[in-house]
């Protein structure tokens, strides 16, 4: 009788403290996270079906074009300041020949977009124009820049939220690209 009462007593004594310790651990770890980062549920799923006009020439880009090789779809806009910061890396990625880089011009004015590319250089194989953002919604885009790595089967393998940095390229993209390449053979 006393034994169970004792254990009940120690439960009451130490439970609040124990709960608090767990809480602090959680909050401490929480400080390292970004609560606004929304991971994509489209990883591992096929590219959403779409067909969009191109920016600088006649014709369209459609989801079926994104097959047969590894590609990167980069959502960007001329009004987007952060897109400027990743422009160099996107250009390098394109030049390296590792992957094909497609542009998704998101909620932008064609004139402004063309000027932006003229000023900074055009790293994109082609640029699709998503004027009203509808296709963006299909991709789960909520801000720019966002980039999607797509494999040869048209499956979305990875999403980069925010500007692509050198460390993202070396730590996230390159290993994945290598993995896909080995799957291809």
């Amino acid at each position: 009788m006393t034994a169970s009462r004792d254990s009940k007593k120690s439960l009451r004594r130490f439970l609040p403290l124990a709960i608090f310790v767990v809480l602090v651990g959680l909050l401490a770890y929480g400080l390292t996270l970004d609560p606004r980062r929304v991971p994509s549920p489209l990883i591992g799923k096929p590219v959403p079906v779409f067909e969009l006009p191109l920016l600088d020439k006649p014709g369209t880009l459609s989801s079926s074009d994104l097959r047969g090789e590894i590609s990167l779809v980069n959502a960007w806009a001329s009004w987007c300041v952060a897109c400027r910061s990743e422009h160099e890396i996107v250009t390098e990625l394109s030049r390296s020949g590792l992957i094909k880089v497609y542009g998704l011009n998101y909620k932008d004015e064609a004139g402004n977009a063309k000027q932006w590319l003229k000023r900074l250089g055009n790293p994109y194989f082609v640029n699709a124009v998503d004027r009203d953002g509808r296709v963006g919604i299909e991709w789960g885009v909520y801000g720019t820049p966002e980039s999607f790595l797509i494999d040869h089967n048209g499956i979305i393998r990875h999403k980069v939220i925010g500007p692509i940095t050198p460390s993202i390229v070396s730590e996230e993209l390159v290993p994945l690209i290598k993995q896909i390449k080995s799957e291809m053979s």
Binding site: V38, L42, K107, G140
Partner: protein
């Protein structure tokens, strides 16, 4: 994390309800109108600091409301629209967390705690029914004063006890 801070969230500046675009939608039916307002309330504006798309002024919120409207006009049901959003943005977009194993603890936790606390409480009351005084902590002097005070207090009538 700094990278994410650099993400150009379209219209993030405008998220705070400081300017209110009121788009007039014409609905086919009262049910559709009700569903529209309900979903606007329950879907999250992803670029904002914890607002639903009804209250947010960001462009994304307007786009999403337009999406809901279009889907309603095409005859889609409330569940289909929710599924559409979740497929693209994940559960994060729902302010009404779905009931699935991941959220069992969320939905059932407080209620389970309520019943658990009731049980514990009842046991405690049961324990209190026997006169359980632990006067050992008081010295005999104090115990005497305590008894005198108890009778003093008991004399002042019950109605003084608010």
């Amino acid at each position: 994390m700094k990278i994410l801070a650099a993400l150009c969230l379209w219209g993030v500046i405008w998220c705070n309800a400081i300017a209110a675009p009121v788009t007039i939608y014409k609905f086919d039916s009262k049910e559709n109108e009700a569903i529209f307002y309900k979903l606007s309330d329950e879907l999250r504006c992803l670029v904002c600091q914890n607002q639903n798309i009804a209250e947010s002024n960001s462009e994304l919120a307007q786009d999403l409301k337009q999406q809901i409207y279009t889907m309603l006009r095409d005859g889609k049901s409330e569940d289909e629209i929710i599924e559409f959003m979740v497929e693209r943005y994940g559960d994060y977009v729902l302010f009404d967390p779905p009931f699935k194993p991941l959220t069992w603890l969320l939905w059932l936790g407080p209620l389970m705690l309520f019943f658990l606390a009731l049980v514990v409480g009842m046991k405690a009351i049961g324990g209190h029914r026997s006169e359980k005084t632990n006067d050992a902590q008081y010295s005999s002097d104090d115990a005497e004063r305590l008894d005198r005070l108890k009778s003093e207090l008991n004399q002042s009538s019950d109605k003084d006890k608010v």
